[in-house]
């Protein structure tokens, strides 16, 4: 019973991810593409939940579906196009794109098929849950944790300089 629910949930989520990802590429209106990209991120978060990686799912929803999707939507809204209905056209390099995509797909398929995945039947450890992450961040890897704060500050300063222009010293 339990197993069936997981399998059904996985296929529903996989379908959401795949179809919205196809929509991102195929749809003509780039705003619709951006919204479907957010849906793709949410679907991937659902798959993380199925893998018992709750914290990763929360990160995926907050950072990707929340912030990154909004950033992309903003980027689209800020640019002006004559006709929004044809803002995401297939460009002339479709053949090159197909070759690159096929190559990437082939490489990934080859890598997945040649890897033997050990079937771990034990329950996922504490490591990937929120508690495990908190222990690792705040006890074992404090320096990298504080470095992340520094990195965020630098990123914000950089964003402000790019947006407003650097002051003359």
């Amino acid at each position: 019973m339990n197993e069936t629910v997981y399998v059904i949930a996985f296929y529903i989520l996989a379908a959401i991810v795949l179809f919205s990802a196809i929509g991102v590429v195929v749809l003509k209106n780039i705003v619709h593409s951006a919204l479907l990209l957010a849906l793709t991120f949410v679907g991937v978060a659902g798959i993380y939940v199925l893998l018992n990686a709750d914290y990763l799912a929360a990160v995926q929803v907050m950072v990707y579906a929340g912030a990154i999707a909004i950033l992309i939507a903003f980027g689209v809204m800020l640019t002006r196009r004559p006709n929004m209905k044809e803002s995401n056209p297939f460009n002339s390099s479709a053949v090159v794109g197909f070759v690159v995509a096929a190559g990437l797909f082939g490489t990934m398929a080859w890598a997945i098929l040649t890897t033997t995945f050990p079937l771990g039947l034990t329950a996922p450890t504490d490591e990937i849950s929120v508690r495990g992450v908190a222990k690792l961040l705040l006890e074992d890897y404090t320096v990298s944790f504080e470095a992340a704060a520094l990195l965020l500050t630098v990123a914000m300063a950089g964003a402000i300089i790019i947006a407003k222009g650097a002051k003359k010293a």
Binding site: I70, A134, E139, A148, L152, I160, K164
Partner: protein, 124 residues
Amino acid sequence: MLKDYLGIGIFLAVGLVMPLIILAVSALLQKISIRYAKTEGPAKYETYECGIETKGDTWVQFKTSYFLYALVFVVFDVEAIFLFPWAVTFQELGTPAFIKMFIFITILVVGFWHAWKEGALEWK
């Protein structure tokens, strides 16, 4: 684990089904109204917005000032992600974790102060 996410599952299902129902009801009402009233005219196909006549295109260009807000938002969104595991284990990890998080927030407040000083939060 499964029970915890049942609520989210129901929420997702309702979120997917509800718009379809609303669209179906709208289509149904449209069919009924066509049968009874033969009112035609340009006003019928206008976009309804609180009774005010709509002007221009839907897809307008937004002010670039918004983008800076979005960037600052992304930074603090990532910060919130770091706050989350700390908040969950606050009781267990105690004072050392509190001090570490205090340092973390202090560094980010410096960034926030810089953004404020540079006028990134001012509307132009």
